[in-house]
């Protein structure tokens, strides 16, 4: 039976590159197993325009899906997930 994935929110607003990407990679690595199983997804909040390019690219390279959306408050969210294995 499929259950909705849990969501981990990573708020890195204010951080610039490369810290924003490194922090995200750290969380993705820590949760790689659960992400691959499809039991969680990671929602990254960032206001670094550069990170909106680098984070989805890094997530795709790791085999994950990444969806980018600009929120009404003016910052961006990148949702990183994986189809359940």
């Amino acid at each position: 039976m499929m259950t909705a994935p849990e969501e981990t929110v990573l708020d890195i607003r204010g951080q610039v590159c490369p810290s924003s990407l490194l922090t995200t990679l750290k969380v993705l690595n820590q949760n790689a197993e659960s992400l691959r199983r499809g039991s969680i997804r990671v929602r990254v909040l960032t206001d670094s325009r550069d990170a909106v390019v680098t984070i989805p690219n890094a997530a795709l390279n790791m085999g994950f899906k990444a969806q980018v959306e600009k929120l009404p408050e003016g910052h961006y969210e990148v949702v990183i997930s994986h189809e359940a294995d």
Binding site: G14, P18, T23, K26, R49, D50, V52
Partner: protein
């Protein structure tokens, strides 16, 4: 004279506003360009940088041929060992700060608190360096490699040939990248400007700056100036006694005026203030306008303390690097490389190990023991 000054200040303010807007939209981050080469094996941002250098080289050479600019530009001097050491310190500093001298300005315009911390570090670092400058100068004189300022001077080959050669070599590389789509990248941010487009626009703005003010983009001497002003409030006698604040190394010929304006790092409104203040203000405001138009402006916060300290330390290091070289990365990458200045070549060679080390330090700060 007054009209000339107003003309130059207005023109540079407009150049700064446009540059700030372009830098913000394209995230034309020079710290990232060098850092990501080592940290993520990404060479993407070095490609538009090469485009900028080559187009600026062509434009500066045209301006020189028609007598619009004097080349090499004022401020450029003979290369010393300190140009290389300055590059290393600067490379480390810009990666720790998350932005170079101009990167800090456009990020500050976008509301980054870290950028403000780095800027404070740069101003304070400039003041600290001022205390040692008198001991550095005789050493630098001893460690000078050659009296030539540029490669054309060193080799006796006209700048025209150097420009044509780099146009041929760099142009063919850029053509290949353009054909294989390596000059573009996908970005989902609002209002994104492709960095190769930004490179072309920035090269034109550099040429305008050179024509109007006699120099490409430079900002860091202003930080010495600000520090001199601050120190003067409490220690006027000390400021007056420091050689760095008394020297007037710049002679600027004003358009539509017969006389020249001199300037230096001292606490006064002189040629350096005229060349740099409008540009600094313009870049910050231009980036702020871009960010506000996209409804993205916010005074960012909630940054781990270790990252704030890194930004501050990076600012201090960039100040020392800029003063030892002398000149910041944008001065050398965008102004010095296009005229084949030897100082700039040494500085860029130094940036590489500096940026590599910076990447290691930032990884250690963020990832701690998990660092691979």
């Amino acid at each position: 004279m007054t009209l000339s000054v107003i003309f130059v200040a207005t023109a540079l303010l407009l150049v700064g506003l446009a540059a700030g807007f372009i830098l913000h939209r394209s995230d034309f981050c020079m710290a990232g360009a060098f850092r990501d080469l080592f940290l993520f094996r990404s060479t993407f941002m070095l490609r538009p940088l090469l485009l900028l250098v080559i187009v600026a080289a062509v434009l500066f050479e045209i301006e020189r041929q028609i007598g619009l600019v004097r080349s090499p530009f004022p401020f450029f001097g003979a290369p010393t060992l300190f140009s290389l050491i300055g590059g290393i310190l600067f490379g480390l500093g810009m990666v720790l700060s998350g932005g170079c001298v101009i990167g800090i300005l456009y990020k500050l315009g976008g509301g980054s608190r870290l950028a403000l911390i780095a800027l404070v570090g740069m101003v304070l670092g400039s003041g600290l360096y001022a205390e040692m400058h008198q001991y550095v100068v005789p050493l630098a004189r001893k460690l000078t490699f050659t009296r030539s300022i540029t490669l054309p001077q060193l080799t006796g080959v006209s700048p025209l040939w150097w420009v044509l050669g780099s146009l041929l070599f760099g142009g063919s590389l850029l053509w290949r990248w353009q054909q294989s789509g390596q000059l573009r990248r996908t970005s989902l941010v609002a209002g994104y400007l492709q960095p190769w487009r930004a490179a072309l626009l920035l090269a034109v703005l550099l040429a305008v700056s050179a024509a109007v003010a006699g120099v490409p983009f430079g900002v860091t001497t202003s930080y010495l100036k600000w520090m001199a002003w601050i120190e003067q409030l409490w220690f006027p006698a000390h400021v007056a006694s420091l050689p760095i604040y008394n020297a007037q190394p710049v002679q600027m010929s004003l358009p539509f005026a017969a006389d020249t304006l001199s300037g230096g790092a001292g606490p006064s409104f002189d040629a350096v203030a005229l060349m740099q203040f409008p540009l600094i203000g313009g870049i910050i405001l231009g980036a702020a306008f871009s960010s506000w138009r996209l409804r993205e402006w916010s005074w960012h916060g909630q940054v781990p303390f270790s990252q704030m300290m890194a930004a501050f330390a990076g600012g201090l290091l960039m100040a020392f690097g800029s003063r030892l070289t002398p000149g910041c990365n944008v001065w050398h990458l965008w102004g010095g490389l296009p005229i084949f200045a030897l100082q700039s070549i040494l500085f860029v060679v130094g940036l590489l190990p500096g940026a590599w080390l910076g990447g290691r330090v930032v990884s250690w700060i963020v990832l701690g023991k998990e660092m691979k």
